[in-house]
Symmetry: C2
Subunit: 187 residues, 2 copies
């Protein structure tokens, strides 16, 4: 039960980060949105808001990592498609009001540990996507750069789509990145 | 002199947005960082903080537009290089502590006019970069998608570099995007 309350607060914080950014993800907002009792915040996160945000970043990182782990042995273009699909789902399910919590924290981080954690998770995604692309048919010497490009383009594409309130920029970016991975597979 | 004070406040707000995000860009912080007298804020921005942020977004949009206007008639790969260079300069001059004020506003916007303005400026950049790429040798039917990809990848690459506190992710993204534009020119 206690673990359930904690998880609920972490999930709520992750959604607030993805939708409204770091400063809007306050203890007060998390309490309001999760319905958790006030005392539970300090019980589960004695380190304060940063501890909650670190847990929310970890949860977001794990969700993507779980999807990536399920793609072992798949062709590189399917790996790219699934990664692109992760972010497409975030946009469409939220009616273009949500994005990446890691990005939101990076551009508003007011503490080193938060920036460090976002950097670690981005690096872990890049390494894992790079390995999957290489195993799936992209030449090894191109796999890290293509993984970095895929992640950066998806992150930026999500922001362009939110600002445009249209999926068009995201789909344009997705098409270019997918063609790039396919071209590297046959090159 | 009054125009000078106003411009100084707009520039200060743009820097705060690029470094610390929307919520950290308060009137109090702008006063502190610009040294402007308190009354001048309400004099120049009777619409409050949103009016100041809209002006800062406009200034950021205009800076990029001025650079793009200077690239008319240039080859597409040079256009891409210069756009990539704009963001490289933001990262290196700030020791990787600053990024794009439009992106910062998009992911933390708490008002429709701010999101609208960010969307308009991103759309204007995309249109202008697309025209320049097409005029510079990229097939017209690919130019909008490549412009969108370039802008999204640079935006995302800036975030990855800030989180990593290293230029490596940005340079990886830059290399891939430049190769993509060159390949479209010869394709």
């Amino acid at each position: 039960m206690a673990a359930g309350v904690r998880q609920q607060m972490v999930d709520t914080a992750a959604v607030l980060l993805a939708k409204h950014g770091l400063q809007a993800t306050s203890f007060a907002e998390v309490l309001k949105a999760s319905g958790a009792p006030r005392g539970s915040l300090y019980h589960h996160f004695p380190g304060g808001k940063d501890e909650l945000v670190l847990a929310a970043l970890g949860a977001a990182g794990d969700r993507a990592a779980t999807v990536l782990d399920g793609l072992a042995g798949q062709p590189a273009d399917l790996v790219a498609e699934r990664f692109i699909g992760l972010w497409r789902a975030v946009l469409t399910r939220s009616d273009l009001t949500a994005g990446c919590s890691l990005l939101a924290v990076t551009v508003a981080a007011d503490s080193e540990p938060l920036l460090d954690r976002a950097g670690e998770i981005f690096a872990a995604w890049t390494e894992r996507v790079g390995e999957l692309l290489a195993a799936g048919g992209v030449p090894a010497e191109q796999s890290t750069a293509l993984a970095t490009s895929l992640i950066a383009a998806c992150e930026g594409g999500v922001v362009l789509a939110r600002a445009a309130r249209s999926m068009a920029p995201y789909e344009a970016v997705a098409g270019v990145q997918l063609a790039l991975v396919r071209s590297a597979m046959s090159g």
